[in-house]
Symmetry: D2
Subunit: 263 residues, 4 copies
């Protein structure tokens, strides 16, 4: 950006550093995905192809941004956690936010054909994003618990709703009406009694969403695959971005992966 | 986002409204496009296919965001101007910024094959973005003048540089050395004397960049094509997103298009 | 602030520059002044001593901050306008805001005895403040019109209210009840018919508030008192911080003082 | 603030909430206190009257803002720590910042005569302030350690400097020259050998600054003075704002006062 007499306009750019030593959580949401999913005939209540495409886009983000220690996704949203000490892009708000959203979007469109073979992408989908700072480990855990609890609530509702529509032959209005005011136990009961569905046997992918972590690579004998020396000469166990569908509300998940919140 | 006991974490989201009655300028830049352009063998100094793909992505943004009155692009960057009174997304910073960057990115990847027939997209490119607020008409004009002056400076340099390399058979290091410290007149002279190139005959697309506006649709006889009544019963002349390669530094451009800065 | 191993904590300070070329309006409000005015037996509906003390504190701020071109005060509040090009304290938000609020407060306490001779200041009063940015001349004018319209509305109400209490011997509850839902004309009529008060004869200080400007100093013959050469060798007419009680809603006020919004 | 047609200008006020669950540190600094201290002939290197006046202003702030758990002051500055869960003024940045700075300033001017009997306050002093957020206990402790380390460094220098000037009869330029590049040990040695001063016998007030905490009120027999039941019926031990001059860098200080960082 060379120096013309107009270059003074750069001075209107305001700095936007994110507070240090706080966890950066970045959440991406699909834009108008209700319509997008209809236009592309996503299966209901869940389209595995669409979920796997989301996972792939999120994984590509984690491959690029190595300071992301955890991601969680459901439906058309994904949340990413940066380690609290990250200095990526000098913690500049807009730079981090747009780079992640853009890469996620690009990867989604790029990998469409792989996950939807034979399905034409009619128009490019888009996503929005936001960053929220969380200052303590507790509230970071509660954030991810919030999203996973939401997954459960939404999926149970949608499973019952689409059972009523697809197998119960109700209209969508009737199905909404039938579920109005019901609690979880009642939806479980409805699924089991009317449709023979044991909700707990629904695949974990649907009930738990996608949890993406960096797992250590182990050798065939189970020992850590100690790789080359990293900076400072310490050997580091290499890690691999891995998609799980597990509970992250309980302590166990975090106890087994102290690195997520450590630095 | 249903109400679990974890929902309190939403309260950590901070509001981010942009100051009212200021012009919002949003600039998008390609991420690592030097490498991306080499990996995809872009022609030098300019690859028309790549520029047209940028124009198409920018035009798709303007089709969606009707409060954008002007866009300007060169190389791997594009700037968008929202009218000062816009209330799109209630002027929420992150929402506007990420929605535009995401749609631009998605459109770029989606339309790749159309502009690069037979060229495989090896990996998804990404873009970052930023918003800068400009409070006065003058400084908005100076912003766009800054970008177009930059286009000129860069393109003259690159035209001379690649002439030295491609026709002059110099190494890139030699070409950089040959141009070090030269002014515009000297580069013009070099192009003309050594390579018979009159810089002013280089296509305007290269020298001026891409200026995207909303032009009124006219009938075959040149009269405005008055369309249907809009809100409030006033007939509005319909407009069409149009890509130009013209000078926007001079008054003329703005005088002919008062709507750009009006509202 | 010397360099110990703890000095890294400075990096948590975030920059807070105010957007360039926007008007900075800084408003100060008395904290718990209802109680403060009762504890110090302010006259009702207006205590001229208290208003003059506010004017003096505001004038002292304007003497110090020469980029303030206008101030407006009523009751326990004062608003200050910085010229849009000001670079005071490099436009750092907290620095400007706290410096003005602190000086105003200090001046208020310091000058108490001068304006309230024989009245003991029982405890130190305090003020809060905020900065709002306004990008256009129109909205700056509307801001000050808003405050002066507010002065009128409040003062008319208070004048009627205290007439009912002090001369009408009503309780405050009865007086509030009597005025509920009345418009301006009705309050004027009530003042005139029941108490023989022509509201327009109430001093302008009460009806218009205090408008503080920099007036040019004139010689006895009315000619401008051209002072010493300023920077750059141009003779500048010296100015004096002057308190007026005039209408600032009409164009006339601004037409006569173009310097307020000019730079 | 009644509703005229101008009231829309309020919409330009931007929200400014401080991130939840982070420690709010607010530091106040004297404005041009070098000149102020000369104009009022403060004793050098330390004026106990001035320090006690600062302590009184800070104590008054702590009496008002009960969510402040710790304050530290030296020279013409004071830092205040709000508990991390505070919801004072809904954590609005400008409101908290200006209210504290204003009260501090008001108290300083109000109490001048008490601490400087017979010394005329020539003009009102002012202070600026800033808020910095600290997300962890560690960095809060390091912040206060930074300030106290600074106190030590400055006071040792000033003590040596004024000994050279006052007793050594050096000019200030000579004294600065004599101290240039010396470390702590050398300054201690100089004080002892040339002026017979054991720096460790300098009063703790000078060497450690002022640490203001809320100490529990104890009965004469040393038992806690359990007061009335607070909200929720729990008896609370009443506390008293207390000025100490002690080390706060070591663990001991914090171990004895867990309440400072707890909530």
């Amino acid at each position: 950006m060379a120096g013309s007499k107009f270059a003074y306009v750069r001075n209107f750019e305001l700095p936007d550093p994110l507070l240090q030593e706080t966890y950066i959580v970045l959440r991406i949401d699909g834009h108008s995905f209700h319509r997008f999913s209809e236009d592309h005939e996503f299966a209901k209540p869940n389209d595995v192809r669409a979920l796997q495409l989301m996972d792939e886009a999120a994984s590509s983000v984690m491959e690029t941004f190595t300071d992301i220690t955890l991601a969680f996704g459901e439906s058309d949203e994904f949340s990413f956690l940066f380690k609290r000490s990250t200095s990526v892009y000098n913690r500049r708000h807009a730079k981090i936010l747009t780079s992640v959203v853009s890469q996620f979007t690009a990867s989604y469109v790029f990998n469409w054909a792989k996950h939807f073979p034979g399905v034409n992408l009619k128009y490019p989908p888009s996503f929005d994003g936001r960053i929220v700072l969380y200052p303590t480990e507790k509230v970071v855990r509660d954030y991810f618990s919030w999203r996973q609890a939401d997954t459960h609530i939404n999926n149970l509702y949608n499973t019952a709703f689409w059972a009523l529509v697809q197998e119960g032959k109700q209209t969508t209005a009737q199905a909404h009406e039938a579920l109005r005011g019901t609690n979880s136990a009642q939806k479980n009961q409805l699924l089991f009694e009317r449709f023979g569905v044991n909700y707990n046997s629904v695949p974990e992918r649907m009930r738990k969403g996608s949890v993406i972590v960096r797992e250590e690579v182990v050798n065939e004998d189970g020992s850590p695959d100690v790789g080359n020396k990293g900076k400072g000469g310490k050997k580091r166990v290499p890690t691999r971005v891995t998609v799980l569908h597990c509970d992250l509300i309980r302590d166990e998940f975090w106890r087994e992966r102290p690195y997520i919140l450590l630095e």
